[in-house]
Structures are given as C-alpha cells and as structure tokens.
Symmetry: C2
Subunit: 235 residues, 2 copies
DNA sequence: CGCGCAAATAATTTATAAATTTTTTTGTTT
DNA sequence: AAACAAAAAAATTTATAAATTATTTGCGCG
C-alpha cells in the first residue's frame, strides 16, 4: 500500500488532450502564426494523428479564443491586433490587481515563502542564453510565469485564477512575437524585486500599482515593436 | 443589393454547434443533472446525432467547466457544491463590481437609455406565470439576464464581459435548482429598481454595492435551499 | 483583349460507421 | 472475503462517405 489515495491517479491521457497541449504551445510560441489557416490535412501531417482528436483539440481552443472556428469553413489561429493587446493588458491590470489584493489579504507565511522562493529562482536565471544578443531562455520563461502565478494564487477563487491564466496565455503570444525581433535591455528583474518587496511589506496599494505598471510597460514595448514591424512591412 | 455587407453573414451552422447549445441549455436548466454521467450512447439517443458532433460539443463544455471530462473514462455534468456556489458568487461580486464601475465611467446617453429599456421590459414581465404558486417564466429569465448583461456591457473589455457571462452561466444552474423547490417572495424587482436609479444618478459606489448585495442575497437564499434539501435527503 | 458571370472541378470540412483500446463489471477460485 | 481472470461495456481513434465551400475554367459581352 504505497499509494495512500484510493483513486488511482488520473495520469492516463487521450490523444485529444496531448494534441491540445501541443497545439496550444505552438500557438503561444507563435510557431503557428497569428491568422494562419489550420487546415485539417496540414495538421494531420504535422502532428501525425487522425482528425477526431485534432477536431476535439481545436474545439477546446476555440472556446479559449486562441483559435477561430468559422462554421463549415475550418479553423485558423486567432489574429493579433493592437486593439486586442490593449484590451487584454487593461483587463489584466484590473483583474490581477484584484487578485493580488485578495491574495495579500489572505497572506500566510507559507504563501509569502513560496513567493520568495519563486522570485529567488527567477532572479538567478539569465533572461537570455546569450549575453551579447538575445536568445530566448525557456527556463526563464517558465520561472517568470511561475512567479506571476504565485502572486495571485492566494486569492481564494479558482475561477478568477483561471481567468488570469487565460489572459496571461493570450498575452504571452504578443511577448514572443515582439521579443524575438528586438533584444530589449529593460530591467524587468528590478521590477520583480520591487513587487516582491511590496508584497512582503504588506503594502497592498504599492504592490498592485507596481504590478500594473509592470504590465503596462510590457504592453508599451510590444506596441512599439509591432508598430515598427508594421511600418517596415508597409514601407 | 439589399445586403450592404460584402461578406456573406456567417449564419451557416454545424451540428456540433447546435448540439453544443442544446447541451449547454439542458445543463444550465438542470435537465441534465449535476454529476450525471453523460455516456455517449445515451446522448446519441437523446439528441439523435452521431458521436463526432457530440464529442466536439462536450470538449467545448469541458473548457467552460460545465462538463467534466475524465480521460478515457467519459464525461459527466460538473457537480454542484456549496463551496463552488460561494466561490462563484464572491468572484462575480468582485468582477462585476469592476465591470459596472468601468461601464459607468464610460457612460453615454445611448448606454443609459438601453439600460432603461431593458429595465422597463423586465419590470413589466411577471416573475412567475402563476401568481399563486411559482411557475418559471422563461421570458422573465431572458429579460433578467439581459438587464444584468447591459449593466456591464459598457466596460470596454470583451474578455471581461466574456468572463462575467461565464460566471453568470455557472451560477444560473444553482438558481434553477433552488428556485424550482420553493417559491420565494423576495422582492427582486425593488433591487433592480434601486440599481437602475444609482446608475442613472452616476453614483458608482452605490450602484456597485447594490449589485453586490443583490448577488449575495441570491446566494444566501440558494444556500439555505440547498442545505434543507441536503438535510431532507439525509434524514 | 479584358472583364464578369456561370458552370464544373477540386479541396476541405463535417458526419457516420467501423475498429481498437481501455475501463468496468462479473464470476470464479484460493 | 480478497484476488485474479474473463467477459461486457464504453470510450477513443481511424477510416469512409456525404455535404459544403473555394477555385478554376470557359464562354459571352462590352
């Protein structure tokens, strides 16, 4: 009797679920580009499966608004737009502001310590694999996301957490698209330090406004990138 | 040239979408009961279709958390619980509070007039088809939902509106389950009147706290119902 | 000679039916 | 009673067929 739980762990997976995860990753990493048509034939070749699991995965992604499904006309990756970028950023500032405030209201030593550890791990991981030129470090991305997740996870509302995650996912796409073009020398780590400090100080207003500024600044950088990219295409 | 738009309207529908809508309605109206197993065979008989469209519909509902999909073990209607009721209510108060405040910030005559009309329609529709004993009036339910939708629709964030809708859907299930047991003589219409008045007065704090009180009160009533129901089952 | 419309062809999506795999149930044995 | 094996049931996936949409081609007309 090694396993104390009666229920066997649900580690069995269906093809539909694994395809769903792969598709989602590929969309968020922009390996499947915004606006790209997702023909069933193409996806079947690409991922080596039948259409039923693909179709199921696509239907889930439609609800998450990462994929657009036009009835009887197939699927495509949801396009990006400055309008959506701003809408998502604005919403994230509101909602994560709320969630962070609640998290801090419910603060416990355990939560603060988990946050501290998450920050520590993030701080000692380089942003870029190459110090000369930007080269995306996947480990940093994971730890960055984890730090932000920790900030809001103590808010005592799974639906709210889920919504924050979805906003984070949808915004992540903009980050990857923008970042791979220009190596920004923005000091994000200083911003993370300040947020952690405010949380540990139990200074709610400070923490919330720092977090919101953090997101606004990111959006500004991305917006500038997208505008110049649009210009270089047009010119 | 009657239709000015170039693109033909996307009114074509797939079976998957229509089944999705029917399933969702049936879950929200609790015709498919919380916790109920949704075997494919059963659903095929019930809705008279093949399994592909059913499967797609179920996968969408899983993301909306109205259906639970256990890997390789099929689907079932998400169960209800007092815990979830309170979590959803709490979250709705936060998020719709936010959305209403933003809506009022962006107030325009057109929006206020649309709200006024929605309230008018709701006010002149009876809550119960039978004045003696409660008999659900579907028209009232639709108008009620429309009034609440109007309150937040001016917040200038489609993602936020979408999230509010989802919370409303998930909470609606609790309403139907509770309401069909006891005819409550709560004066909800007075509460709606007060909310409308506060909005037209541009009194943000008042409007938000009235809306939140409205939701809290509903949750209290439902919780009492569910507790007595649980007792009568146990005793 | 180019433009626009119509018909036919091709490609793609949707739906049904069949096959495979996994889980659950049932019955037997220790 | 517990454990194992066999059978049944159910879910997942592949394969096939039907319906819909997009594209191309050809023809008439300005």
């Amino acid at each position: 009797m090694i396993d104390p739980a009666k229920e066997p762990p649900d580690n069995a997976t269906t093809l539909a679920t694994s395809i769903y995860e792969r598709l989602k990753n590929d969309i968020l990493a922009a390996r499947l580009e915004p606006g790209q048509k997702l023909s069933l034939r193409f996806l079947m070749d690409q991922y080596g499966t039948g259409q039923t699991p693909l179709r199921e995965a696509l239907n889930r992604l439609v609800i998450e608004e990462l994929v657009i499904g036009r009835e009887q006309r197939g699927f495509s990756v949801t396009p990006i737009s400055l309008e959506e970028l701003n809408e998502l950023t604005r919403t994230r500032c509101w909602v994560e502001g709320l969630a962070l405030r609640e998290s801090m209201q419910n603060a416990t030593p355990a939560w603060e310590e988990a946050l501290l550890v998450a920050h520590h791990r993030l701080a000692r991981t380089p942003r870029s694999l190459n110090p000369e030129q930007f080269e995306d470090n996947p480990a940093w991305e994971v730890l960055h996301r984890a730090f932000h997740d920790r900030l809001i996870e103590n808010c005592a509302s799974r639906p709210l957490i889920g919504f924050c995650m979805q906003l984070a996912d949808r915004l992540y796409r903009y980050r990857t698209i923008s970042i791979r073009k220009v190596f920004r020398v923005r000091k994000v780590s200083a911003e993370h330090d300040a947020i952690l400090q405010a949380v540990l100080d139990h200074n709610q207003e400070q923490a919330v406004s720092l977090l919101q500024a953090h997101y606004m600044r990111t959006a500004t950088v991305i917006e500038a990138d997208l505008r110049t990219a649009a210009l270089s295409l047009a010119g």
